[in-house]
Symmetry: C2
């Protein structure tokens, strides 16, 4: 495919701020000199999709039909490659790929691949995400397969993560930063020198950390954006990343 043959579909709205942030990152990480060099993008953002965490952990209203409807919209407008900037929703990704026929890049796979490239430079991987992401084992299974150690937050740290996510969703990333700061302090105090922000709201909170710890944080949305650019613009990214 040539540069602009791809139409990138973003299945978003889960939550909306994380979707806008992902889109801004994709734009910022695309090498361009003018508008026309950018990727064609279609976004379907339906925030009324029922809560993903509740569905994964407690069997509340199934969000899948709304997610599938969105994927079909993206397919119908011509998306050739899609992404889902929500970790918890990745629990539904295999079904979504099968039922929509859309090709998705998997944010968890991209993250685990990056961690494998960095293997040996850190001890365990600290995992901060929703209770749904943690409970589903989404990351743990793939980290284990890659023989990478993982450190999970205890209950009091998880409460801080939950609050950070909630505050971003409520439009208060500053308050979210305080809670994320508490969680990061605890995790780095245990044994996890590298922390994965495994919820797409957390990078928005991370901008407001009281102390700069960016070296200790890995943001999967950066990796997903880079993967999209590599797929769509291979000639412009050659040699800039480890080839897949």
């Amino acid at each position: 495919m040539n540069t602009h043959d791809h139409l990138v579909g973003i299945l978003g709205g889960m939550g909306p701020a994380a979707t806008a942030e992902f889109y801004a990152k994709l734009i910022g990480r695309t090498p361009v000199t003018r508008d026309q060099d950018h990727l064609r993008v279609a976004i379907w953002a339906d925030p009324t999709v029922p809560d993903r965490v509740g569905a994964v952990t407690g069997g509340s209203t199934d969000p899948y039909p709304a997610m599938l409807a969105g994927a079909k919209r993206l397919r119908d407008v011509g998306a050739t490659l899609a992404v889902l900037p929500c970790h918890t929703a990745h629990a539904f990704l295999p079904a979504l790929v099968k039922d929509s026929g859309l090709r998705f890049l998997d944010m968890v796979d991209e993250t685990v691949a990056e961690l494998e490239r960095r293997a040996g430079t850190f001890g365990s991987v600290g995992l901060l995400g929703t209770r749904g992401t943690i409970a589903s084992g989404l990351y743990q299974k793939r980290l284990q397969a890659a023989r990478l150690g993982v450190a999970l937050p205890g209950e009091s740290t998880q409460v801080q993560v939950d609050l950070a996510i909630k505050k971003v969703k409520q439009g208060n990333p500053q308050a979210a930063g305080v809670h994320l700061d508490n969680a990061v302090r605890t995790m780095t105090g245990i044994d996890a020198p590298l922390i994965v922000l495994a919820c797409t709201e957390l990078p928005l909170a991370a901008r407001h950390l009281s102390t700069v710890r960016s070296a200790a944080l890995l943001d999967p949305t950066d990796l997903l954006a880079d993967a999209v650019v590599r797929q769509c613009l291979p000639s412009r990214t050659e040699g800039k990343d480890v080839p897949e």
Copy 2:
């Protein structure tokens, strides 16, 4: 219509960073307590649409067919209300409304309405935008009809505005801020105490002004986002704005 009966269509990509910024503003300006309170949004962002400024000022490749194709995509996925976060492209808005059958909120109308509400609190309105926006008279005609004075940049100031816009499009809003600063200094030095950022790239540059002049700047994308929220969620915005 009830809260979530609306699907907001954003005809974007002109340029992409301005689209992401508008979407983030719409999210930030929607009163919510959880994801599900947000508006349903579909974005069509095709940055390969030919240059709008060239078309308005010099008859280069016509961007209209690509814009119309995008509007039709938004209509076909069910958009009930649409916006076009690009001032220069507003020169094509009447045709777009007619040919697509989509209802659009007009960013220029929203801005002029706000200026009319503020009439008497400022002298002339300083207008910073692309050469296409200025040449089309898009704002000047409506400001004149509203009996509001307008101050246009001279050539050397326009060169600074052009550079500010170009730098945002190239992913360098810091450099853009320096050029916008030069333009704002000149305009406020003449006679325009209130400056309209009549290009959707300029608010991204305005974040990087060396001196805080936010009181002197009016950002039409804020007004457009507020208009969308008022239209879609009248019960949540009652009394918060002058009714239309």
